[in-house]
Symmetry: C2
């Protein structure tokens, strides 16, 4: 399951996209932070260590929250919630953060609106999500030719909606959306787009971990910064 | 060559993405329009027929411009220019439009800045360009399996820069950029993103032209609306 993933064991340091996502964050010190899909709480703890004024993490998994609480600094608050139905108080946060959770949400327009009203004016939403090129295919996987050259065959890009995979556990459902759909949902919710990045490992990352080189072939994660 | 393409013969009606792009346009009547990469002038004539206050079309191809002038209404102005080096007067236009020309431009950041300063406050840039998923692959083309199922194998997504193809004529050079690079270049030039769409044919379009169904498998064009 999740708990054996490198990013679950090593935390932020085990997530190759973290340096890129961190670079997109506003100042965290003194700010009110909400983490949507906080998992084991790695980001919450990081934000607290940076001097955040308050940190609140939501996750749908009771098990993950229990581990988050167990390894946590006192002052971080964790609550169980389904992002599909999340309600947040108005203008209560300066930064909403979400790492690789939004692709489990079907009605992302509703969630973006809930986040938008929950941010103070000028507040930021910074998130990562699976890139639609990764998620679209009816049979996601590398194709490797006789010379060992990898390609990532895509199809069904415009067939939005659920994708069921057996990644980590059986029958996991993610929701495929085009990049246009995601960005237009943000704009419709009132956000201004600040930065859109498709995660690409740096040469230094590839030197340290050569298997990351395949991530140059096709985009794996979509990283977005938007402001209210 | 270009002149035998359906879109060259039939004009806007022969371009399946035109209805989607048209839907992204602001009011054209009474506005000052500049078309970057106007080709045979189909959009310029359409804008003039809609009652634009002025229409100016740029293209690098003298031959195309000659045909544009020959089939043109009097009042449309055509000029030869390389978009790579285009300079425009300040705050002189209400709408900058570009159809499938920006993928020939290497330094798109420079061009976006030139366009930004050329728009009146509130002015719009609306453009289409080849989608990076279409352009990225080292060997672009469909892969068709034994059952006839099509996939579009991608690789080299993060290897930005020139792509040389023999489409229409030998050695045509286009410039591959990720979606993030294109959108961040717009934001860096001062634009606010209004709408990002990946062209997908409608059911009606597919019913009328069944070969368009393959465009559901992978994105072909990127359509963007941004404002100053």
């Amino acid at each position: 399951g999740y708990s054996s993933l490198v990013r679950s064991v090593e935390g932020l340091a085990g997530a190759p996209e973290w340096p890129a996502l961190r670079a997109m964050l506003p100042e965290v010190k003194g700010r009110r932070i909400v983490d949507l899909g906080c998992g084991f709480g790695w980001f919450c703890r990081w934000a607290w260590e940076q001097g955040a004024a308050s940190v609140l993490g939501f996750d749908v998994s009771q098990k993950m929250l229990e581990r988050a609480v167990a390894s946590s600094d006192m002052a971080i608050e964790y609550r169980r919630a389904d992002l599909e139905e999340l309600n947040l108080p108005a203008a209560a946060y300066d930064l909403a953060y979400s790492s690789l959770a939004l692709h489990y949400v079907n009605d992302v327009g509703r969630l973006f609106s809930a986040i938008h009203q929950a941010l103070a004016p000028g507040g930021r939403l910074v998130f990562s999500t699976e890139h639609p090129v990764l998620m679209a295919p009816s049979k996601p996987g590398w194709s490797i030719d006789a010379e060992g050259k990898r390609t990532w065959p895509i199809d069904c890009y415009f067939i939005e909606g659920p994708r069921t995979t057996d990644w980590l556990s059986e029958g996991v459902v993610k929701y495929h959306r085009t990049i246009g759909t995601t960005l237009n949902a943000l704009i419709a919710a009132g956000f201004t787009l600040n930065h859109v990045e498709e995660f690409c490992p740096t040469p230094e990352q590839i030197a340290a971990k050569p298997e990351l080189a395949e991530e140059l072939e096709r985009p794996m994660f979509l990283l977005v910064s938007a402001s209210r």
